[in-house]
């Protein structure tokens, strides 16, 4: 054998081997192609599905958020309704107070009027019988004058009461805007609170600049002051000591400052931040709703566009400072 024929054999062997490998590889690559296609199809299907599922769960989450915010809105409405009914309850109290308060002058008038009627009957009888004495006539005239004066002044008092109650009551519900003298209006509010105050030994007074007239919502003031005073009575004097409650108004550059102050037990510092929160009360067992201060806060900040601050010292008392911008009036 020549050397190159050995080479040739070797080469042929090598080529044959490569041919076998290539044939096998071709066969494999076809199989692999099919496999790969399937793998890719599966991958595509999987990813599509996962994306769809994610979208779906996002929708569900969105749905949930919608439901949640609906529930929240519902809650808010309920809360507003509660606040509203608290206002109404306050009004109810007011009406009861009104009835009670008017009872006295009307009762006085009735007593005076019936005495007058009785005296008039016996006077008439005397006149008819022709037994009228000078002294009898004088007595009757004295009594009649006194009775008419009593009746007149009592009816006047009742009239005044009705007037101011009406004012406050109407203002409370309608919250209409008008121009009024602040100090005299605050005094009127105190009159309407007389029935509650009378049961207590406390003294309430309004001091300050009586020339301040504002164009605002008197009803808001009525509710604010009513709540502040009710709270002082309810929470400020647990041991029934007599208190001094003061309302002072003053004019300060572009602002009106109303300072409300009691000398009661004060509010513990841990609660100071909470008292304006709806439903915060330290008197739940005693039937507190925890809405009073919240209503005050809303009226001051929203209706009157002002601010309210509370400072308090235990056993010394509580001060609420309401600052209202003048530009608004």
């Amino acid at each position: 054998m020549k050397p190159n024929s050995l080479d040739y054999e070797q080469q042929l062997k090598q080529l044959k081997k490569e041919n076998r490998i290539l044939t096998k590889k071709l066969q494999r690559s076809q199989e692999r192609q099919i496999q790969l296609e399937e793998t890719n199809q599966k991958k595509e299907s999987l990813l599509k599905r996962v994306i769809l599922d994610l979208e779906e769960s996002r929708d569900v989450a969105e749905q949930r958020t919608i439901k949640l915010s609906e529930a929240l809105a519902q809650l808010k409405t309920t809360q507003e309704q509660l606040i509203e009914s608290e206002k109404m309850a306050a009004l109810g109290n007011l009406v009861a107070g009104v009835a009670h308060e008017i009872n006295t002058p009307v009762g006085n008038s009735v007593t005076a009027a019936s005495t007058l009627a009785e005296e008039t009957t016996s006077f008439t009888t005397s006149v008819m019988a022709g037994q009228l004495k000078r002294s009898t006539l004088n007595n009757y005239l004295d009594l009649a004058t006194e009775a008419s004066e009593i009746i007149l002044s009592n009816l006047q008092r009742a009239g005044e009461l009705i007037q101011s109650f009406k004012q406050v009551a109407v203002d409370r519900t309608s919250l209409e805007r008008r121009t009024f003298g602040l100090k005299s209006y605050l005094s009127e509010i105190l009159v309407t609170l007389e029935p509650q105050l009378k049961k207590t030994p406390h003294q309430v007074s309004v001091t300050g600049d009586e020339t301040i007239h504002i164009n605002s919502y008197p009803g808001a003031f009525a509710q604010i002051v009513t709540n502040l005073i009710t709270n002082s009575i309810a929470h400020g004097y647990p041991t029934n000591q007599s208190g001094v409650i003061q309302l002072d108004i003053r004019h300060e550059s572009q602002q009106i400052v109303i300072q409300y102050q009691d000398d009661g037990c004060g509010i513990e510092s841990q609660y100071l931040n909470n008292i304006f929160e709806p439903f915060f009360t330290t008197n739940r067992d005693g039937g507190g709703s925890g809405l009073g201060m919240h209503i005050v806060y809303n009226l001051v900040t929203q209706k009157l566009k002002g601010t309210i601050k509370v400072t308090s010292q235990v056993n010394l008392g509580t001060i609420f400072t309401i600052v209202l911008p003048l530009s608004d009036f």
């Binding site: 590889k25 299907s45 999987l46």
Partner: protein
């Protein structure tokens, strides 16, 4: 002395292939006679013939092996339809092979038989066994059951490493080799005794995707229901009409709900809606669909190698064995050869190494922890002596 050599041929012709492999081995052996061998062969070869040739050359060899879905070696890197043989020579390590058959009928008996056969040849004490390599048939019985049986005999502290034999993605019949025998439904093992240094790396690169669900009905390695619906519905929700397959394993969560292992499907029953997996599953376990992609897979091969190198107790290993999941090869497709390149980044290219693509991997999570069954992983086993 611990010497390891490797031969690898991609000639589809059985006679030519084995001749080439032996030629390479003999050259590297340089007159030393090997005591043991591990053979990985594509399923299309004539395996008996190949084993005959090997035994004609090395009559006293202790050999195990099996069919594959792709082969790896330091000689030819990644190949399909190839034959690769790793031979071990040592005067300090003893190698004893054994096999148990009819594993599907009684895995425990098969495991016991394999171990008995191997240990009966040993001159060493059983306590000196330092490693068990196994290449069982995963199509006939569940990987988890086989491992449980082996652990029961060998104790749970002995590292058991290996892979389930494969058949080129046909899922029809796989073969195992024990000495010159070609078997199916068997558990071949090779026990290493003596002062062997080993370390393992296990990494997958698959990630859970989609919604977490609960296995509501399962028995051994069959899931009947997930979230009270047929298991097949769960898969079809994601894969559409396409069948569950090994590249889409379930992530099975540990009770901590964070760590998970994977269970890959082998087959399904369309009428029952049940799916059979390579490993057992527990009713009540949380599962999630998973997804593997090329980058994650390649990266995990590198991580597996690094983990093994970090854990290696000696200065440098003498050999590496790899067991990589067939699903990885399938997803990598034309990039399959890159996997070995990624693993190889961190060691000397001359390190004799050999491996195959499996239907399930077997290894402890920590080098000396208890052995677990895996799917979708790349397992690195480093071997050496002091």
């Amino acid at each position: 002395m611990f010497k390891v050599v490797v031969g690898h041929s991609n000639d589809p012709d059985s006679v030519e292939a084995v001749a080439e492999v032996l030629e390479q081995c003999l050259e590297s052996l340089a007159e030393i006679t090997p005591q043991a061998g591990i053979l990985f062969a594509a399923v299309d070869f004539e395996h008996s013939l190949i084993l005959q040739e090997i035994y004609a050359q090395f009559p006293d060899l202790e050999l195990i092996g099996g069919t594959t879905d792709g082969e790896i070696s330091s000689v030819l890197d990644f190949q399909q339809d190839s034959l690769t043989l790793m031979l071990f020579c040592s005067d300090e390590i003893e190698f004893c092979a054994g096999v148990g058959t009819q594993a599907s009928q009684d895995s425990l008996a098969a495991a016991q038989a394999a171990i008995k056969q191997a240990t009966s040849k040993s001159k060493q004490k059983i306590s000196l066994i330092s490693l068990c390599i196994t290449l069982p048939d995963g199509l006939t019985s569940s990987g988890v059951t086989i491992i449980k049986a082996l652990k029961q005999e060998l104790g749970s502290n002995l590292p058991i490493v290996g892979g389930l034999t494969a058949d080129g993605g046909k899922y029809h019949k796989t073969y195992q080799f024990y000495n010159q025998e070609v078997l199916s439904d068997s558990i071949p093992i090779m026990l290493f005794s003596g002062d062997l240094l080993i370390s393992c790396g296990v990494n997958s690169g698959w990630n859970p995707i989609g919604k977490k669900s609960t296995i509501t009905k399962a028995e051994k390695n069959i899931i009947y229901e997930i979230d009270h619906q047929p298991a097949l519905d769960f898969y079809q929700h994601y894969l559409g009409d396409l069948s569950p397959s090994i590249e889409y394993p379930l992530a099975v969560f540990e009770p901590d709900n964070k760590h998970f292992y994977m269970r890959a499907p082998i087959s399904h029953d369309a009428t029952q809606g049940s799916i059979t997996f390579f490993g057992d599953l527990l009713q009540g376990a949380m599962v999630q669909m998973t997804e593997g992609n090329c980058d994650g897979i390649l990266n995990s091969a590198e991580l597996s190698m690094q983990e093994a190198l970090n854990d290696y107790p000696g200065t440098h290993p003498d050999a590496a064995l790899f067991f990589s999941c067939t699903a990885r090869r399938q997803i990598l497709s034309s990039r399959a050869e890159e996997e070995y390149k990624f693993a190889k980044k961190h060691f000397n290219a001359a390190l004799p190494s050999c491996g195959f693509y499996t239907y399930g991997e077997i290894a402890p999570l920590e080098s000396h922890g208890s052995t677990l069954f895996h799917n979708e992983t790349f397992i690195t086993l480093l071997l050496g002596t002091k």
